[in-house]
């Protein structure tokens, strides 16, 4: 069934975007925009694939991908928070660095096989009609990802750590007055968020595409950044939005599999156009939900 195929594809293809967008949510709730998410995903994708190929363990690859993303995030945090560099320009530079670094070190892995994650249907649940097909016939990383958005929601809304992060994003001076360092809290959020983006990249290469190639994230990192805005910085909405994007990406192959000839590039543009349209519709309303410190970054 077309709808089921598209929705199942949405979960499969949206997972990488979700990891990245949740990471961006964390960073932005602390008051820092990381436009370099695209670069973090790229180094995560290569790091994950390369380590999986070298060690034979895709799980180690996943870990390496997260670390690679976090390292690049550390560069962003250092430049922005310590050196006072512009967030947008630094973020874009990260994308450039990510492109270059992965091209330099990734050439050897293009077209070379690596162990990855294959779909493992969940017993019983996977046999359910429709729901089983959409949610429970995926790879282990996707199952793992189901927990990340609720966890982030819990972390941000219900824990002391989350309170620190949110205060860094809303009222940095209050945090300062209570003897905490806003810069340190923000740095931690940026690095952890970039780690999630790296994880998303690793999921993309080891579980979704089962390959590494140059520029394979193809703008997913930027979609993630936009997604966070129209999900109004809420983890659970980010999760839903990511699957929407995954679904937009899945429409083309699903139609092609049914022999519908549609122009590939019109469909490739779809996720970006949908993002823009939703931003246009929800813009003002969601921006009011923006963390206070972040609003300063956006409305300079």
């Amino acid at each position: 069934m077309l709808v089921v195929d598209v929705l199942a594809g949405g979960v499969r293809g949206g997972t990488a975007i979700m990891f990245a967008a949740l990471g961006e949510t964390l960073a932005e709730r602390a008051g820092v925009v990381n436009l370099g998410t695209e670069g973090c995903m790229l180094v995560g994708a290569l790091g994950g694939y390369a380590v999986a190929a070298e060690t034979g363990s895709p799980w180690l690859g996943l870990l390496a991908g997260a670390l690679a993303g976090a390292l690049l995030g550390l560069v962003h945090a250092a430049a922005v928070l310590w050196r006072g560099a512009d967030q947008f320009a630094t973020g874009l530079t990260l994308m450039f660095l990510g492109l270059g670094l992965t091209s330099l070190f990734g050439a050897a892995y293009v077209g070379s096989p690596a162990p990855g994650f294959d779909p493992v249907p969940v017993p019983v649940l996977g046999d359910l009609p429709i729901v089983g097909e959409i949610l429970f016939r995926h790879d282990p990383v996707t199952y793992l990802s189901f927990a990340v958005a609720p966890l982030l929601w819990f972390l941000l809304g219900r824990t002391r750590t989350g309170l620190l992060v949110r205060t860094a994003g809303e009222r940095a001076d209050v945090l300062h007055a209570h003897g905490h360092s806003p810069a340190l809290v923000r740095a931690a959020a940026v690095v952890a968020g970039a780690g999630l983006a790296g994880l998303g990249g690793a999921q993309l290469s080891t579980a979704y595409a089962h390959a590494w190639f140059e520029g394979m994230t193809a703008g997913r990192g930027f979609i993630a950044v936009a997604l966070v805005i129209f999900a109004a910085w809420r983890p659970l909405w980010v999760m839903a939005g990511s699957y929407l994007f995954g679904a937009a990406l899945a429409v083309a192959p699903a139609l092609q599999a049914r022999g519908q000839a549609l122009n590939q590039f019109a469909l490739d543009a779809l996720p970006f156009v949908i993002t823009l349209v939703i931003l246009a519709i929800l813009g003002r309303r969601t921006l009011r939900a923006a963390p206070e410190e972040l609003r300063r970054v956006f409305a300079r």
């Binding site: 050196r83 630094t90 874009l92 330099l104 979609i223 490739d268 543009a269 823009l276 003002r284």
Partner: protein, 349 residues
């Protein structure tokens, strides 16, 4: 970030101008040396002799044909940098140069395909500028009407622009006689940019330099330029002072888009002659870096564009002599910019 018009540098006020200049120079050299050193370490990690690779790059950049190549490559970079510089004066971050360049090239090609003869060239350039302005206008409208930051929308629009071009060259505009990868029919000889006499450099560089000087003059000596910097410095104060903030933001964005679109049309009519996948090779992003490298000042941005063009051309030697992928040079550019953003304090704008 913080939107102050000028950043009073207390230390600099007391120091003598010479010492300030020396300190600035030292900071720049330190930042650049750090970036190159880090790049060398990365090359070493890749098993490439960094000394040979770097000297190869320098040698590559200073051969005669390379110098012409550098000017040719710098042409769209200069225009693309102006597309960042002018909006930046109004506090806008135009990261959409890449998409605006693509749309400019598409609009130029559209005119070139439908208007025969030499009359096409000026029309192509106009159409390119118009197309780029239109594309930037979408982001400007979203900023003004719904308040979505232009850095996000221009980035997204880059991908849409790429798909627009690919759609056209894979279907309606595809050259039926072409072989290999799909492309449009090449422009007629008379539709192409004439060459600067005695060289292989096309006239686009003249256009680019004229635009850069015009931007410099406008920002420096006109009330429009002054108003832009007031808006960029403190939009609230500008509003209170009765400036038409929305109109100024729109104008800055449209002009920026027009410059980038012009870059696309010039690149098409001067170098590429037909639309093909991989037409822009990140020109828009590199131009963005060039503008930041120059701290958003128009004339230094010309220098930065030339520098980055030289790095790009020099990077060919990495590919030819050291067998490294072409995108390797992006690492060097990224490191240089990071160094400048992070280590030259005034880079904060």
């Amino acid at each position: 970030m913080t939107a102050t018009l000028t950043r009073p540098a207390v230390a600099d006020r007391t120091a003598s101008p010479v010492r300030t200049a020396l300190r600035t120079a030292a900071r720049w050299i330190g930042a650049l040396a750090g970036a190159v050193a880090l790049f060398a370490v990365l090359l070493l990690a890749k098993g490439v002799d960094p000394v040979a690779a770097l000297t190869g790059m320098v040698a590559q950049a200073f051969t005669g044909p390379s110098l012409e190549q550098i000017v040719i490559k710098a042409t769209p970079l200069v225009l693309g940098a102006m597309a960042v510089v002018l909006p930046a004066r109004a506090g806008l971050t135009n990261v959409g140069g890449e998409g605006q360049i693509l749309i400019g090239a598409v609009a130029g090609a559209g005119v070139g395909l439908s208007v025969p003869g030499p009359a096409a060239l000026p029309l192509m350039l106009l159409a390119g500028a118009g197309g780029g302005a239109l594309w930037a206008g979408v982001a400007a409208a979203m900023r003004l009407v719904v308040g979505v930051n232009e850095a996000v929308t221009t980035l997204l629009l880059n991908y849409v622009a790429l798909d627009v071009m690919l759609y056209l060259i894979y279907e309606p505009w595809k050259d039926p006689h072409g072989s290999g990868q799909p492309a449009t029919r090449p422009l007629e000889i008379v539709q192409r940019m004439p060459l600067v006499s005695g060289t292989a450099v096309h006239m686009g560089i003249v256009v680019a330099l004229l635009v850069a000087v015009a931007v410099w003059l406008v920002l420096r000596g006109t009330s429009f330029g002054f108003h832009l910097s007031v808006v960029g410095g403190n939009p609230e104060a500008a509003r209170r002072a009765g400036l038409p903030v929305a109109r100024l933001i729109l104008a800055a964005m449209l002009l920026g888009g027009a410059f980038a679109g012009l870059a696309g049309a010039v690149h098409l009519a001067g170098v590429e002659f037909k639309l093909r996948p991989g037409l822009t090779t990140n020109i828009g992003y590199i131009a963005f870096l060039a503008a930041w490298l120059a701290r958003h000042r128009p004339l230094p941005a010309v220098g930065a564009a030339l520098l980055l063009a030289a790095v790009t051309v020099a990077g060919d030697s990495l590919q030819l002599d050291s067998g490294l992928p072409a995108a390797t040079v992006n690492v060097l550019m990224g490191l240089v910019l990071l160094a400048v953003l992070g280590w030259s304090r005034h880079a904060r704008r």
